[in-house]
C-alpha cells in the first residue's frame, strides 16, 4: 500500500514536472511565433517572386492622371491569357528608353487603354512591339521605337494628360491614338468605387474651353479606401503577398456578390444557372462557328453576363452627350501635337470581345475629318475572323494582336513614309 502511494506520488511529481517542462514560457511563445512568422513571410515572398505571382497590382494614385502604373514594377497578369511586363522607370511597359531621342530614330507614341497596354499577352506578342518590328524591317537604315503608353481603364482625357505630361518628353515623331467603345463611355462622371475609377473628368466650358475636374479623385482619396491606398503604398509596390491578398479579396468580393445575387452558394449548378450557361455557350458557338459574322448577343465573364451587343448599342446612343468632350479633347491633342511637331493619327479598335460602337466610330471619323487627322477603322476586317481566335474574353489574343498589326501597319506606314519623305 505504501509502495503504491509512493509510486503514485512520484508519478504525479514526474508528470507535473513534465507538464512544467512542456508548457513554454510566454516569451518563448512570442519569440517562436515572431521567428516562424518572419520565416513564413520571407519564404512566401521568395516563392511568389520565383513563381511570378502576386504581381497583379501595378497602379498607384496619381494627382494628375488619377492613377498610373508604378515605375520599375514587374507585372504578371493571369486574368485572360498569361502576360508579363516589366515597367521601366517612367512607368511604361517597355525597356528603358532615353528621354532624348537617339539620332536617326523615329518614335511613335501609342496612346490607349488596356487594349494597347496588352497585359494579357507577352510583350513580344503585343501590337506595339509587332508594329515596331515591321517598321524596322520595312525602313532599313531608320530605327523605329513604338512606345506603349496604354493604361487599363484610361479615358480619353487621361490619355491626353499622359501624352502631355509623359509621352511628349520622349520627343515622339508620331502620336497614334487607339480609341474604342470605352474611350468615350468612361468620360462620363461616376462616383469612384476604387482606384481604377478615381480619375479626372473633363468638361467643355465657354468658348469650347476644356476644363478638368478632380472632384471624384480628391473625394475618393479622402475615403477610407483612398487613405488605405496611401498607407499601403509601399506594400503594394513591393510585396507579392500583398498582391495575392488583394486578388483573394477581389475574388471573395465576387463570391459575396454572387451570394447576394443568389447564384454563388458553392459551385451551385442550379437549373437556372445551367440553362443560362447553356444559352451563353450556344451563343458563343453560334458566333464563332459562322466566322463571327453574326453579332454577339451575350458576352460572358465566367458565369456573369457583363454586356451584349444590344446593350452596347443602347450605350452607344447614350454616350452621344459626351461627344463634344471627345471633340474638345481631340482638338487639344491635335494642337499639342502640332506644337510638339509630331503627326497625329487615330485608329479605331474593336470593343470588349469584338463589340462595335457604330455611332461613336462615326463621330470619331467626323471629328478627325474636321480637324484633318488621319483616321482608320479596321474593325470590319477583324470581325471577319472567329471571335474566339482573336479575343480572349475581352482583349486580343496573340493572334488578335498579330491580325491587328497586319491591318494597322499599312495605315501607319503611309504616314511614316510621308513624314520621312519616302
Amino acid at each position: 500500500m505504501e509502495l503504491k502511494t509512493a509510486s503514485n506520488t512520484t508519478e504525479s511529481k514526474d508528470s507535473s514536472e513534465a507538464l512544467k517542462e512542456a508548457r513554454p514560457t510566454w516569451y518563448f511563445v512570442v519569440l517562436q511565433t515572431v521567428a516562424v512568422l518572419t520565416l513564413v513571410i520571407l519564404s512566401l515572398e521568395c516563392m511568389f517572386a520565383l513563381a511570378g505571382v502576386g504581381e497583379e497590382e501595378y497602379l498607384k494614385p496619381d494627382p494628375v492622371l488619377g492613377f498610373a502604373p508604378m515605375p520599375n514594377k514587374h507585372v504578371t497578369k493571369k486574368e485572360e491569357g498569361v502576360g508579363t511586363a516589366q515597367y521601366n522607370r517612367y512607368g511604361i511597359p517597355e525597356p528603358e528608353r532615353s528621354l532624348v531621342k537617339p539620332a536617326n530614330t523615329f518614335r511613335i507614341a501609342v496612346l490607349g487603354d488596356s487594349f494597347v497596354e496588352a497585359l494579357q499577352v507577352e510583350r513580344k506578342d503585343n501590337f506595339c512591339y509587332l508594329l515596331e518590328q515591321d517598321l524596322n524591317k520595312k525602313y532599313p537604315g531608320k530605327h523605329f521605337e513604338v512606345m506603349n503608353f496604354g493604361v487599363a481603364g484610361y479615358n480619353l482625357g487621361q490619355m491626353y494628360l499622359r501624352l502631355k505630361n509623359l509621352a511628349f518628353k520622349f520627343q515622339p515623331d508620331m502620336v497614334l491614338l487607339a480609341v474604342r467603345a470605352d474611350t468615350t463611355f468612361v468620360l462620363r462622371p461616376t462616383p469612384a468605387i476604387g482606384l481604377s475609377t478615381a480619375r479626372p473628368y473633363f468638361f467643355v466650358g465657354g468658348n469650347n474651353q476644356l476644363l478638368t475636374d478632380y472632384t471624384v479623385y480628391t473625394t475618393w482619396m479622402k475615403t477610407s479606401a483612398g487613405k488605405r491606398m496611401k498607407v499601403t503604398g509601399w506594400l503594394r509596390e513591393n510585396s507579392r503577398i500583398w498582391g495575392v491578398v488583394s486578388v483573394a479579396v477581389q475574388q471573395a468580393m465576387g463570391w459575396y456578390q454572387q451570394m447576394l445575387a443568389g447564384t454563388g452558394w458553392g459551385a451551385a449548378v442550379t437549373n437556372k444557372q445551367t440553362a443560362f450557361a447553356k444559352a451563353a455557350v450556344a451563343d458563343r458557338v453560334d458566333t464563332t462557328s459562322n466566322g463571327a459574322a453574326a453579332p454577339r448577343k451575350t458576352f460572358m465573364i465566367g458565369n456573369t453576363e457583363i454586356s451584349s451587343q444590344s446593350y452596347y448599342d443602347a450605350r452607344d446612343k447614350g454616350i452621344r452627350y459626351f461627344w463634344p468632350i471627345v471633340d474638345a479633347l481631340l482638338v487639344q491633342i491635335k494642337k499639342e501635337c502640332d506644337t510638339n511637331k509630331c503627326s497625329f493619327l487615330i485608329v479605331q479598335l474593336p470593343g470588349a470581345g469584338g463589340i462595335t460602337n457604330k455611332l461613336e466610330t462615326e463621330s470619331f471619323k467626323q471629328t478627325a475629318k474636321r480637324i484633318a487627322v488621319p483616321f482608320s477603322d479596321r474593325t470590319a476586317e477583324i470581325a471577319k475572323e472567329p471571335v474566339k481566335k482573336v479575343f480572349y474574353e475581352i482583349h486580343f489574343t496573340p493572334y488578335g494582336h498579330k491580325l491587328f498589326t497586319k491591318e494597322l501597319e499599312p495605315f501607319v506606314s503611309q504616314y511614316v513614309s510621308a513624314q520621312l519623305g519616302k
Binding site: 511565433t33 516563392m47 505571382v53 486578388v247 451551385a268
Partner: protein
C-alpha cells in the same frame, strides 16, 4: 460546395465550432443536418433523393436481419433498387446514345427503316456522388445479409450515408469502421485535430496549387486537336494529366479526411504512392483503395475471384475492370480504360504465375534495378491508360496515342507553355521538399521541429498553416478546375 471553395471555408469552421460546443448527444444530429446542407447546396431536390434512398436502405437492412428466410429476396430487391437508381441517373443517356449509334450503323442492313434520331436524349442531371452512395448502400445490405448486425439508429445510418467529408467523392466507407468511431464524438483529441488541419491544407495545396496548374498543361494538349499536337506535346499532356488526376483526387480525399479528423472521425486512406507501384496489381492496391477493395469484395469475389480456373479468373478480372471503368463514367472511353486495365492485370497475373517457377526472374525482380524497371514500366502503362480516361472519346484517345507513339511530329505548342508555368514549377518544388521531409524516419529528432504538432507552439503552428494556405492560394491559377471525380 467544393472543399476548395470560399463557401466551404465558411461552412466548415461554423460546423466545426457548433459541433465541439454542442452537447455530445446532439452532435450526430448536427453533423447529419450539416451533411444535408452541404449536399443540398448544389441541387436541393437531390437531397430528397438521397434521403429517400437512405430510408429505404435502412429499412432493407432491418428487414434482411429480421426476416432471414426472405433475406436473399430482400437483398436482391435492394441491389436492383440501388443499381437501377444509379443506372437511371448515370447511364440512361449513355444507353440511349449507344442504341442510336448502333441503329445508325446497322440501319443499312435492316429491312425495316428505323430513324435513329427518334431516340432522344433525356434531360437528366447526375446527382453528385450518386455512385458513392450506391456503393455504400450495396455494401451495407450485402454485409447485413452476410450476417453482420445492421445499424439500429436511423440517425447513425443516415449519418454514415451522408457524412459530408466523404460524401461526393469518397473514400467509400465501410459501415463497421464508421460505427466504431461514433463514440469518438465525445472527446476532443488535439493531436487528431492537428493532423486534420495538416491533411486539409495538404489537400488544398495538392488540389489548387498542383492539380489546377497541371490541368492547364493537360487541357492544352488534349484540347489542341490531333493536328496541333506534336509528340512531345502529347507526352507532356499525358504526363500532366497523370499527375493532375492524382493530385486532384488525393487532394480531395485529403481534404475530406482532414475535415473528418477535425470532427474526430477517421476515414480510410485512398492512396498509397500509386505511381511507385511495381506492377499493375500493386497499382490497384495503391490507387483508389476504397474502390478497388469494394470491387474486390462485392464484384470480383462474388464472381468467383481467383479461386477458380485460370480462364474464369481472367474473365472475372476483365468483367470487374470493365464495370469499374463504366462506374467512372458513362462513356466508351471509360470502358476502354477499364478494359485496358483488365487486360494489363491479366497479363500481370499470367506473368506472375510464369515467374513463380523461375528463380532467376524472381531474383531479378528482387534486385533494386529490377524494381526500378518494374516501377517505370508500370508508370508508363498507367500513363498510357490515363489517355483513355482523359480523352473525350475513344477516337480522341487513339489520336493522342498516335501522336505519342507513331506520328512523331515536332510541334511543341504545349511544351512552349512551360515558360508560363512558374507557379506550377514552384508548387512542385515546395511539395517535393514537404514530401521529402515527411518521408524522413519519424525518430529523427533533429528534424522533429519540422513536423507540425511536435514542438511548435500553437501560434507558431498557426502561422505555418496560414503560410501554407497562402502559398496554395497564391500559386493557384485564376480559373480553378472542378474536381475530376465529381462527375462520377
Amino acid at each position: 460546395m467544393l472543399f476548395s471553395s470560399i463557401s466551404y471555408f465558411i461552412f466548415f469552421p461554423i460546423v466545426l465550432a457548433l459541433y465541439w460546443v454542442s452537447p455530445v448527444r446532439a452532435r450526430r444530429a448536427l453533423l447529419l443536418v450539416a451533411s444535408y446542407v452541404f449536399y443540398m447546396s448544389w441541387i436541393p431536390a437531390y437531397g430528397l433523393l438521397i434521403m429517400l434512398l437512405t430510408g429505404v436502405n435502412y429499412f432493407l437492412g432491418w428487414a434482411i436481419d429480421s426476416f432471414r428466410k426472405q433475406a436473399k429476396a430482400i437483398l436482391l430487391f435492394g441491389l436492383v433498387l440501388n443499381l437501377s437508381t444509379l443506372c437511371f441517373f448515370k447511364y440512361t443517356n449513355f444507353l440511349l446514345a449507344s442504341a442510336a449509334d448502333l441503329l445508325r450503323s446497322i440501319a443499312p442492313w435492316l429491312a425495316v427503316s428505323i430513324d435513329p434520331s427518334s431516340i432522344q436524349q433525356v434531360n437528366i442531371i447526375l446527382p453528385l456522388g450518386i455512385s458513392f452512395f450506391a456503393f455504400e448502400f450495396i455494401h451495407y445490405i450485402s454485409d447485413v445479409y452476410k450476417g453482420t448486425k445492421p445499424i439500429k439508429s436511423p440517425v447513425d445510418f443516415a449519418l454514415f450515408a451522408a457524412f459530408f467529408p466523404s460524401q461526393i467523392a469518397g473514400p467509400i466507407k465501410r459501415y463497421q469502421d464508421f460505427m466504431q468511431q461514433l463514440p469518438n464524438e465525445a472527446r476532443f483529441d488535439a493531436s487528431m485535430f492537428n493532423q486534420g488541419i495538416v491533411l486539409l491544407l495538404q489537400g488544398l495545396f495538392k488540389k489548387i496549387a498542383l492539380s489546377d496548374n497541371l490541368a492547364i498543361l493537360a487541357n492544352h494538349g488534349f484540347n489542341a486537336g490531333a493536328a496541333a499536337t506534336g509528340t512531345a506535346d502529347a507526352w507532356l499532356a499525358a504526363l500532366a494529366f497523370t499527375f493532375q488526376i492524382y493530385f486532384d483526387f488525393s487532394g480531395y480525399t485529403d481534404m475530406g479526411r482532414g475535415s473528418a479528423l477535425m470532427l474526430g472521425y477517421k476515414l480510410p486512406d485512398n492512396f498509397n504512392f500509386p505511381y511507385l507501384a511495381t506492377s499493375m496489381s500493386d497499382f490497384w492496391k495503391r490507387w483508389h483503395i476504397s474502390l478497388s477493395t469494394w470491387l474486390r469484395d462485392y464484384l470480383y469475389i462474388p464472381l468467383g475471384g481467383g479461386k477458380c480456373s485460370k480462364l474464369r479468373k481472367h474473365y472475372n478480372l476483365m468483367v470487374t475492370m470493365l464495370l469499374g471503368g463504366l462506374w467512372h463514367g458513362a462513356a466508351w472511353h471509360f470502358v476502354a480504360w477499364g478494359g485496358l486495365h483488365g487486360g494489363l492485370l491479366i497479363v500481370n497475373h499470367s506473368y506472375d504465375d510464369f515467374a513463380k517457377q523461375r528463380p532467376l526472374l524472381q531474383q531479378i525482380h528482387a534486385h533494386p534495378l529490377g524494381k526500378l524497371f518494374s516501377a517505370l514500366l508500370t508508370f508508363i502503362l498507367v500513363l498510357v491508360s490515363w489517355v483513355f480516361f482523359r480523352a473525350e472519346t475513344v477516337p480522341h484517345a487513339m489520336q493522342m496515342l498516335n501522336s505519342m507513339f507513331l506520328s512523331l511530329e515536332p510541334s511543341s505548342k504545349v511544351v512552349s507553355q512551360l515558360s508560363t508555368c512558374g507557379p506550377l514549377l514552384v508548387a512542385i518544388g515546395v511539395y517535393s521538399i514537404y514530401a521529402a521531409i515527411n518521408s524522413l524516419p519519424k525518430d529523427m529528432p533533429r528534424y522533429g521541429f519540422l513536423r507540425p504538432g511536435l514542438t511548435l507552439t500553437a501560434p507558431a503552428r498557426l502561422a505555418i498553416y496560414a503560410g501554407v494556405a497562402f502559398a496554395a492560394i497564391g500559386l493557384a491559377p485564376s480559373a480553378p478546375s472542378p474536381f475530376i471525380y465529381f462527375q462520377f
